[in-house]
């Protein structure tokens, strides 16, 4: 049996017109590890997160491959059993806390709901747990926050609330989908620090979706670089920045702005690199045979 917390093997997904949006993606997240999925828009990084959580849009169909959550093959479970397993062992930290929260309900019941309704906890136990987590995300006035409506909190506070909610049920795996993209840079740093601290203390594995190589360098131990639904490079994060192997990874690093080295950064991606990628994708498509004809 696999020791990985999440093991994705050879996962392909297509749109109704047959176009592949995930191209034989394989990646694993070990227990307690942060794996970053990095890529530009359209790379499929959010799609992978959604596939794991079982919330792919209805226009996307998985046509091959396996997803194992702590050794259990999600594809072999009945829908209800699959939802229960995903609900108990995973959680999401979304990009935009304002759309993830119900605007017409107070924070408190929204946070305890999941624990009570999905995990069957008592209201009292859920409330105590939520307060404990709010303390862990350094919210010093939990009573006020729990009584508030989402619009009464700042962006950073809302994201703290969602981080607390994600960790509350002790999931084994958290999918964090661009959790700091909408935040100011100083708030982003506080939030990344909190996620890293809770992740360490709770031993939670995280699949961290981001477009920002700076965030990748700071938060993750492992990284998969995606382009057009294909993993073009996978490495230890330290190794990736020390010696990126794929030309696209090198180009992405060179394109990322660095105030310490303004002239060597912000380099436009070379046309030759993009042409090479297109050829690589085309070759992969040629070699690929959709299962079931």
């Amino acid at each position: 049996m696999s020791a990985a917390c999440l093991d994705i093997r050879n996962l392909s997904a297509v749109l109704a017109n047959g176009q592949r949006v995930l191209r034989s993606v394989s990646l694993a997240v070990q227990p307690g590890e942060v794996r970053a999925l990095v890529g530009e828009s359209g790379a499929g990084k959010t799609m992978i997160g959604k596939a794991v959580l079982g919330v792919l849009p209805s226009s996307v169909h998985i046509v091959e491959g396996e997803m194992l959550l702590e050794g259990e093959d999600l594809g072999r479970l009945q829908p209800k059993a699959r939802r229960t397993l995903i609900g108990a062992r995973t959680a999401l930290i979304p990009q935009d806390p304002l759309t993830a929260l119900n605007p017409s309900r107070r924070i408190g019941p929204q946070m305890t709901d999941r624990l009570v309704r999905i995990l069957g906890w008592s209201g009292q136990r859920a409330d105590a747990r939520i307060r404990q987590l709010l303390d862990e995300v350094q919210i010093r006035d939990p009573d006020r926050v729990l009584r508030s409506y989402p619009h009464e909190l700042s962006g950073g506070m809302r994201q703290r609330v969602l981080i607390a909610a994600a960790f509350a049920a002790e999931p084994r795996l958290i999918v964090a989908d661009e959790p700091t993209t909408a935040l100011d840079v100083t708030v982003q740093k506080q939030i990344l620090r909190l996620i890293a601290q809770l992740q360490r203390e709770h031993g939670t594995a995280i699949l961290f979706v981001t477009h920002d190589l700076g965030v990748v360098a700071k938060i993750s131990q492992k990284v998969s670089v995606l382009y057009a639904g294909k993993v073009v490079e996978e490495a230890d994060t330290a190794a990736l920045f020390a010696a990126p192997q794929h030309a696209y990874t090198r180009a992405l690093i060179a394109a990322t702005p660095r105030y310490t080295d303004p002239l060597a950064s912000l380099k436009p991606v070379d046309e030759a690199v993009l042409a090479g990628l297109a050829a690589e994708i085309a070759a992969a498509e040629q070699a690929w045979r959709p299962p079931h004809g």
């Binding site: 530009e40 828009s41 962006g155 100011d184 840079v185 100083t186 708030v187 982003q188 740093k189 990344l192 620090r193 890293a196 601290q197 477009h211 920002d212 190589l213 700076g214 965030v215 990748v216 360098a217 700071k218 938060i219 994060t237 330290a238 920045f241 020390a242 180009a251 992405l252 690093i253 394109a255 990322t256 702005p257 660095r258 105030y259 310490t260 303004p262 002239l263 950064s265 912000l266 380099k267 436009p268 991606v269």
Partner: protein
């Protein structure tokens, strides 16, 4: 040294605070900009940086007189434009152009790219040789001529932003306001757009106010930087000086919070110094 193109003295802007608007009657005014003094030197790119709510976009809108200041003055090339009525602003408008953050919402979906770029030319009495001028504008931003007949939805994000730049520069303005023009773009596209803007600003001798939340981008592009917080200027200086020797704790915090694409195990450790 030549006189600055734009001089701002004691600038205040107050806007209606809709969150405190009574059911009946006017919303009370909230002061967004609380007295700013600075100059924009001719032919240089000035970065305006700050977090959300710092007033950087409001400042931008006041500079191109989309907003009327409530106090202080804005002088454009020796002419006081602070309270100039719209009719008198019109002849100046061709020299006060703007590139927007989101080209998807600032380009008309029903018009072709050619007609979008032509609109300001016609408005400003440059309706002759229209085709030629549009072709020139497209070429300037590195778009093929075939794009003239396309619509915005047929373009990628980077191409759309090139159209936004082409439209703003079609009139060869003296001043261009660029408000977060790369924040919606992927890094590879962002690099292309910034390189383009850098080149055009130098070639055309533009004076640019470049609003951004990203100090790394500002360091690359701008000759001087204004750091804003809560409607005030925290620090303003030449770019290199600001990065090498930031004077204010807030500026140092802003710089330290940028996650560089480099391994740094200490970066996530709680800082000894608290945020100012």
């Amino acid at each position: 040294m030549a006189k600055p193109l734009i001089s701002v003295r004691g600038l205040k802007v107050a806007l209606p605070d809709m969150t405190r608007k009574p059911l009946i009657g006017r919303a009370p005014l909230a002061e967004i900009l609380k007295g700013l003094d600075f100059d924009l030197p001719r032919g240089s790119v000035t970065g305006i940086v700050g977090e959300s709510g710092s007033g950087k976009s409001t400042l931008g809108r006041a500079l191109v007189r989309l907003l009327e200041p409530s106090a202080g003055s804005i002088t454009f090339d020796g002419c006081d434009i602070t309270h100039l009525p719209e009719a008198e602003l019109r002849p100046l408008r061709r020299n006060l152009q703007m590139i927007f953050q989101d080209p998807m919402s600032s380009l008309n979906p029903r018009r072709t790219i050619a007609s979008i770029i032509a609109a300001p030319l016609k408005q400003n009495g440059l309706g002759d040789r229209l085709k030629e001028r549009v072709a020139e504008a497209l070429q300037r931003v590195g778009l093929p001529q075939s794009f003239a007949s396309r619509y915005r939805h047929e373009l990628s994000g980077g191409q759309r932003q090139r159209v936004g730049i082409a439209r703003a520069l079609a009139l060869s303005p003296r001043f261009v306001l660029a408000d977060e023009i790369v924040s919606g773009l992927d890094v590879s596209t962002q690099a292309q757009i910034l390189t383009l803007l850098e080149k055009l600003a130098a070639e055309m001798g533009l004076t640019v106010a470049f609003i951004s939340h990203d100090l790394s981008v500002i360091r690359r592009l701008c000759q001087q930087v204004i750091v804003m917080r809560e409607g005030r200027i925290v620090e303003a200086s030449a770019t290199n000086a600001l990065f090498e020797n930031p004077q204010q704790a807030y500026t140092r915090d802003l710089i330290a919070a940028i996650p560089l694409p480099e391994i740094d195990a200490d970066w996530l450790q709680p800082a000894a110094r608290s945020t100012a």
